[in-house]
Amino acid sequence: MRLEPRLPTGPVADAWGRRRQELAQIAPANRRRYRVLVVGSGLAGAAAAASLAEQGYRVRVLTYHDSPRRAHSVAAQGGINAARNYQNDGDSVDRLFRDTVRGGDFRARELGCHRLAEISGSIIDQCVALGVPFAREYGGTLSNRSFGGSQVSRTFYARGQTGQQLLYGVVQALLRQVEAGRVELCPQRDVLDLISLDGVARGAICRHRLSGALETHTADAVLLASGGYSNVFHRSTNAVRSNASALWRCHRRGALMANPCFTQIHPTCIPSGDPDQSKLTLMSESLRNDGRVWLPRRAGDHRTPDQVPEVERDYFLERLYPSYGNLVPRDVASRRARELCGAGHGVGPAGRSIYLDFEEAIEREGRGVIQARYGNLFSMYERITGVDPYREPMRIYPAPHYTMGGLWVDYHLMSTIPGLFVLGEANFSEHGANRLGASALMQGLADGLFIAPATVPAWLAEHPHPALPHHHPACRDAVEGVRQRIAGLRAIGGSRLAVDLRRLLGGLLIESCGISRSAAGLRSGLEGVAALRASFDQDLRLPDPETPLDPELERALQLEDYLELAELMLRDALAREESCGAHFREEHQSESGEALRRDAGFSHIAAWEWRSDGAPIRHQEPLHFRAISPTARSYR
């Protein structure tokens, strides 16, 4: 298989504009003949569905939520970047482009990053027009703050609920199209397979979560915007029902999976306390604008934080990275936290936390100012831990957060299955090996508002297909496949609940493929996953439900996919013999413990091809840097 990224040639700066002019279009009156199926209703999915419906295409949206407003984009806290130079600090499209390429540790395509930076401004315009109540200055102009990995203030925000407000903006745009009859909204649908005909994506099979019915949905193009997969770690910052099923089933149908091992570990999360705890809650990175990270200088210091005098505190990020301080990128901050906790400096249960302290900020700015900036985060922390962060430092620890890996897509966001487009966190694009703060919302909206609405119509224009009837063998076979899979899981009749195995899988994966990875750890991780797969195949307990509502079935289906995905993540991490961004291989580090990239061997995107024999094939798409020359990332 040859990967064809369809990248524009010529100068980087106006490549997207040139490509847009070349893209085929469909006359307005003809658009209603085309049907587009969108899977997922988060920022990318809702935005794409609304945009395409506004253009006149017939859109159907499948979402497993009861309302599109529940999509996990709603939980993003901190903000969204845009190159607007509103703060007169010299920001520009070029600077955002450079920060994005550099922040991704040179493992993303230059052209994609540039396009993202270019589009960023229009996203803010559009969201303001949709009624997103961004923070404002007294004079009425938009306000900005700074985020990790950047030295300018380019992050637009709505208190600590930016994702919620952006999502509501695009969901309202979507509901407007539902009302207008241009979008058919299908909630409570769990997508379990892709329908492909002659290798072209033509629809999806899903299970109605309330009736249990298996449904066939056909279309002329399929847009997958189903989010990320970091719940494979069991406890992550994702919503507990976030899953990888739709994405993984597309992979098994032939969509290559790119850079699966690149999972961002977010440094500021509320650590785990109890074995039954179901998730890890993110505390926005914006807190690091005012909060100072520290640990006791002396290992094994069990005094309460107020008992540790100033001179015995180690503000280690400020000490190690004077120019970025507490705002160093996420991978760097996470690694330092893990090392110091490993060396016995950690605080809290099992010494697995660090302090994020607001004492100085409260003294400097006053409690009112801090409350206005972060009030909802402070109360969230207080509810979960029972500790008041205005009086005591927060205790935080890194947790699996955002997945930079995902289905491989070309410049048009099309996967290796023609007609299957992948948007937002479900694809691998733009972030490289790491993600800057406030860039995920930007990518989801860029994909959904502006890129897919330009490239999907071009595909439709060039590939007219006759309608695919539901009784077609391609549809019937796909439904039958899902039916047999479910029957097979029920037939195992073992003794272990899915959640049991899932907990073990998560623990194993975080240990072997988390903040830090080594060849030996990854190999033992692979053995561990194989053993868990055997337990799953032989000993799963999936009771017959009394009613169609069956979350246990959903869990079992997801776990089966997670087991295969985890194996691929481990293989990918093992094959990438270098350290870059979120992927830190212990064998490849400098004397001072910084990540060592190996551009000569690994300046490429690794894209894995599914094989039913369990031996996936690793393909490579080489990366070329024309506008920026790769340098070592340094935040010191």
């Binding site: 935005a47 945009s51 939520h65 309302s67 599109p68 407003r69 529940r70 709603v74 939980a75 509103y86 229009s122 803010i124 315009d125 559009q126 303001v128 027009a129 949709l130 009624g131 109540p133 961004f134 404002r136 007294y138 009425g140 102009t141 938009l142 306000s143 709505a158 609920q161 919620q164 969901v171 309202q172 745009a173 509901l175 407007r176 539902v178 009302e179 919503a239 507990v240 306390g273 109890d274 039954d276 705890q277 179901s278 998730k279 809290g348 249960p349 969230m380 509810r383 979960i384 831990t385 508002l449 609405p453 609940l497 307990r541 009771p543 439900p545 009394e546 009613t547 509502l549 979350p551």
Partner: protein, 248 residues
């Protein structure tokens, strides 16, 4: 975050299968619970127990478990989202309860929210309220430069406050008339306060209020229970604002 004590709780839960016209309360006992668990994590534990015993697990809605998606919500001892104010069910931790306590869990009950199973009800009526004009009619790609339209900080803050409604339905559940006034008033205020939402403000207000009746929500009787239970503390003055604007 760390505690050595453990709790026992009795959960009196409304059990109603999807195919049953009526449900009933059943007592479920849990022991050895850490006070650091959330109430939903205790329900997870109960469900594992029920599955292993061959019983039907309890259905409840949940997802983000950090108080923002609006999926979760049921009555705890008669109070929507429980006794603690400004909090969703998923953010209730067992340290709020005492050892040996009995908690009664029952679903939102409102004509516009048909029951699905156990603690789960159908809240799609709230989305249909939004479809009746709860948006700004601007096509994607046709927006002016963002700073062309200044919005004062205070106004933006007020719009944000109204916009922070998560659509959980607690306001409806707490209202003796099962009115959706707070939900609608919040959306109207969010969009009317901003200049972007003003051109279609009166049309939006009329249509959303009409849709409220069509969905079977009751009328507002000014009891203000809605605001008292709202996990996002949406102020009840927004309802007065809505009524005032409607009469103007």
């Amino acid at each position: 975050m760390s505690s050595s004590s453990s709790l026992s709780l009795t959960l009196r839960i409304w059990r109603q299968r999807q195919d049953e016209p009526r449900g009933r309360f059943l007592d479920h006992h849990l022991t050895g619970l850490s006070p650091d668990l959330s109430l939903l994590e205790a329900l997870d534990r109960l469900n594992q127990q029920l599955l292993l015993e061959g019983e039907r697990p309890v259905s409840f809605d949940h997802d983000c478990r950090e108080g923002i998606c609006g999926s979760c919500g049921f009555l705890i001892n008669g109070q929507a989202h429980g006794l603690r104010s400004g909090t969703t069910v998923c953010q209730l931790y067992l340290r709020e309860f005492s050892d040996g306590q009995t908690l009664t869990l029952e679903p939102w009950r409102a004509r516009a929210f048909p029951p699905i199973q156990d603690l789960v009800v159908d809240r799609s009526a709230l989305d249909r309220l939004l479809m009746a004009g709860g948006y700004v009619s601007v096509n994607i790609g046709s927006a002016p430069e963002a700073n062309v339209l200044p919005v004062g900080r205070d106004l933006a803050e007020q719009a944000f406050e109204a916009a922070s409604c998560i659509g959980c339905g607690a306001c409806v559940a707490a209202c003796p008339n099962a009115s959706a006034s707070l939900f609608v008033a919040a959306k109207l205020a969010h969009l009317e306060l901003l200049p972007q939402g003003q051109p279609e403000a009166s049309r939006r207000s009329r249509r959303m209020r009409e849709q409220m009746d069509a969905e079977g929500f009751g009328v507002c009787g000014n009891q203000l229970e809605c605001s008292a239970v709202c996990p996002k503390e949406i102020p009840s003055r927004l309802i007065s604002r809505m009524n005032h604007q409607a009469m103007a």
